[in-house]
Amino acid sequence: AQSVAQPEDQVNVAEGNPLTVKCTYSVSGNPYLFWYVQYPNRGLQFLLKYITGDNLVKGSYGFEAEFNKSQTSFHLKKPSALVSDSALYFCAVRDALILTGGGNKLTFGTGTQLKVEL
């Protein structure tokens, strides 16, 4: 079974400072990894994904994430946070080996609330 853990319910950071939102995963094969952001009363918005290749993935709005296979982590980062980055962030994983049927399923973490203050 595949799973995702987001160990922090909330992350607080001052505007202009770097931010990190943590994610660890578990799959039986190689992972496909995703980050989504959710603003209040809106659906999830795709930020970035790791499929294969370079461990550092760049995405929308200046976000990036680093895939670390040995630590089974995929932490979301941004060099300089903005107040407008305040939102709920979800990490998600899918097992790359299972392409069809019930295996082609995305499993989400419980989310991390990011709060960026002036």
Partner: protein, 117 residues
């Protein structure tokens, strides 16, 4: 490009009443997903369609939930009868998925917030 459209955005019903949610995916997307998101949780997949076929409905409570995707485009998710525990946000998502290809990201609609009293 228009995104995933869902309606209604909010629905309040009394328990034991029926309710239906509608989703129109992004044009050209062959795969459609219904998720349920409980308060403080991540989305959980209820059912996934590839074109008209439901290829994964293992998490759908089939005693009260049903879904259809006629003509492989729009989809409807129904609950009958609704229970208090069904209060949640119901999200629809779509993507383009082909066998053997890299996994493409899912695009989500704004969701329907259901409150069962």
């Amino acid at each position: 490009e228009a995104g995933v459209v869902q309606s209604p955005r909010y629905k309040i019903i009394e328990k034991k009443q029926p309710v239906a949610f509608w989703c129109n995916p992004i044009s050209g997307h062959n795969t459609l997903y219904w998720y349920r998101q409980n308060l403080g949780q991540g989305p959980e997949l209820l059912i996934r369609y590839e074109n008209e076929e439901a290829v994964d409905d293992s998490q759908l409570p089939k005693d009260r939930f049903s879904a259809e995707r006629l003509k492989g485009v729009d989809s409807t998710l129904k609950i009958q009868p609704a229970e208090l525990g069904d209060s949640a946000v119901y999200l629809c998502a779509s993507s383009w998925v082909t066998s053997g290809s890299s996994y493409n990201e899912q695009f989500f609609g704004p969701g329907t917030r259901l409150t069962v009293l």
